[in-house]
Amino acid sequence: MTETEAPAETVSTARRTLLEARDLRVEFASRGRRARAVDGVNLAVGEGEIVALVGESGCGKTTLARTLLGLEKPTAGTVHFDGRPLKYGSKALKEYRRQVQLVLQDPTGSLNPRHTVYEAVAEGPRIHGLPDEADIVNSALSRAGLRPPERFLLRYPHELSGGQRQRVVIAGALALNPKVLIADEPVASLDASVRGEILALMLKLRDELGLSALVVTHDLGLAWNIADRVAVMYLGRIVESGPVEQVLTAPRHPYTQALLSVLPESPERVVLTGEPPDPTRIPGGCRFHARCQVLASGKAAEAGVDARCRGELLDILPASATAQAACYYADATG
């Protein structure tokens, strides 16, 4: 192999890959069947990069996020951090959690009701034996927008609003100065003004500290607001990914097109019906084919790809930084 054969994408991404899923699969046993919640995913998050992972409820976003954090063991494939495969020993995982922090979907479920705000945020620094605990807690609370921190230190979760609780959770994650934040719907339970502040905070942490983030969300506006790249997930797979500007203004996969069409401002709504996708019964051919509006309208047949839509498995997309879609129609029509 000569140097000139290097694929274009490695040239276009100056970013060093920090966190990576390689051909990741996660299965659960569900009433005697196999649920393929994550069914072959390649995804890379670069240093100082914010990647948004979007997709339908139940498509496997949280499972993928938990697996990247080491909370779930993959059935197949690997998680790589900083070029090395993740080790699942308790000591290795503890060290890993310092680098890669989780912010959960629902703050109520992730705070201990008997711990004060101070105790909640101090937990991480304490486990890792960091000095100057009080300073760390104060600064993390301020960075998360709970100002002045003294006002909140001695409160219990039930004495806070939902939004204030989520900011406590974010402060807890920031307290360890992680390299990567994995945020599962970080602002879904927050009102609009705080939402803007927390998204701005994530951008600022990225710009000033080089923090990387994988943001799991159903909110395409959020991806537009802060992400560099977006990956669209459907039934356990990434079906389209690429730079935000490209994917969100000129989507090529019919599923991405449908997602964008139900936003309030868009003219023609494609509300997908049919069974919500079930990871214990992944259809053959293209996994989206039973709900695909392009196939249903006959456009796929016109392009001569309908038989493949129904019968031929698609290749798994690589972890590429350039725009790509897993769709026969998109491939055939360019």
Binding site: V54, R147, A192, R195, G221, W224
Partner: protein
């Protein structure tokens, strides 16, 4: 016909360090079959207000004013009557309630239980009714056999909506019902909620921080700030042409995908949310208000008329009304 009327409702929590006036004099009314959206800052008292409606607040909360549901005052109602109201007339989908599902019981049983306890379904019909309710929220009937941990967050939230529908209530109070859902299911659930309101004559109070969602579903919109309603009116008008600067900031906070102005530039409101224990004097919004006048820090603001069926608690609105 008026189904629900709130008259000067206030709620104060007592905590170790003092009193938290979370809701401060809210008056609103809701016709049967109508939908009211409540929006507002995190901590502005939306959930507190929702829970006050069915007296679901903790004991350390003091509630004032009157809450008339079908003409009866909920606040002075006897315990037995209140229980009946909670099951048969109004139900709440709590914020974040999907965590309240019992982890060791199948969701079908959990949906059926209150119906069986209250004699609203016979044991042999319960399965059929559960399947019907699951269908209404877009889930297949076999999901009745699942345990909560086998469902995604969004699927659990749909189960909560099915449970709220189980007793065919007249009023549903939905606290952030779609925030955990992806756009596609949100579009489905919102369509479902709209149909329920339109076809079954159910009234709705929906709480959300997303004005575009509320404008889509609800006829009327109330925007809360620091425990008070600061703007009220027909929802589309409030959304597209807000009179109060806080409502305007809320409406602007959700970006349009494709708009270069908002690309990598999330918009929020500067400043800190108010501490209910130390509320700013005058108009509580004045420390963050981009168009505040000097008098705003001392002025007593109230909801002034702001055009046809509209009102807003801002001195600029009063000035305009007086001039006209």
């Amino acid at each position: 016909m008026t189904l629900l009327e709130l008259d000067d409702v206030s709620v104060t929590y007592r905590i170790a360090s003092g009193e938290v006036p979370a809701v401060r004099g809210v008056s609103l009314s809701l016709d049967s079959g109508a939908a009211l959206g409540v929006a507002g800052e995190s901590g502005s008292g939306k959930s507190t207000l929702a829970m006050a409606l069915l007296r679901l607040l903790p004991r350390d909360a003091r509630v004032g004013g009157r809450i008339l549901l079908g003409g009866e005052d909920v606040l002075t109602m006897k315990w037995g009557r209140l229980r009946a109201v909670r099951w048969a007339e109004a139900s709440i989908v709590f914020q974040g309630a999907q965590h309240g599902l019992n982890p060791v019981r199948r969701i079908g049983e959990q949906i059926a239980e209150p119906m069986l306890v209250h004699g609203l379904a016979k044991p042999d019909q319960a399965d059929k009714r559960v399947a019907e309710l699951l269908g209404q929220v877009g889930m297949p009937a076999w999901r009745a056999q699942s345990y909560p941990h086998e469902l995604s967050g969004g699927q659990r939230q749909r189960v909560m909506i099915a449970m709220a529908l189980a007793c065919s209530p007249k009023l549903i109070i939905a606290d952030e019902p779609t925030t955990a859902l992806d756009v596609m299911v949100q579009a489905q659930v919102l369509t479902l909620i709209k149909d329920l309101v339109a076809e079954h004559d159910i009234s709705l109070i929906m709480i959300s921080h997303d004005l575009s969602v509320l404008a889509d579903v609800c006829g009327q919109l109330a925007v809360m700030y620091a425990g008070r309603v600061v703007e009220h009116g027909p929802s589309r008008e409030v959304f597209h042409d807000a009179k109060h600067p806080y409502s305007r900031a809320l409406a602007a906070a959700f970006p349009t995908v494709g708009d270069p102005v908002s690309r990598l530039a999330p918009k929020g409101l500067g400043g800190d949310p108010p501490d209910p224990m130390h509320l700013p004097s005058g108009c509580a919004f004045h420390p963050r208000c981009p168009i505040a006048l000097e008098e705003c820090s001392s002025l007593d603001v109230e909801l002034w008329p702001a055009g046809d069926r509209r009102s807003a608690a801002c001195v600029h609105v009063r000035a305009k009304e007086e001039a006209s």
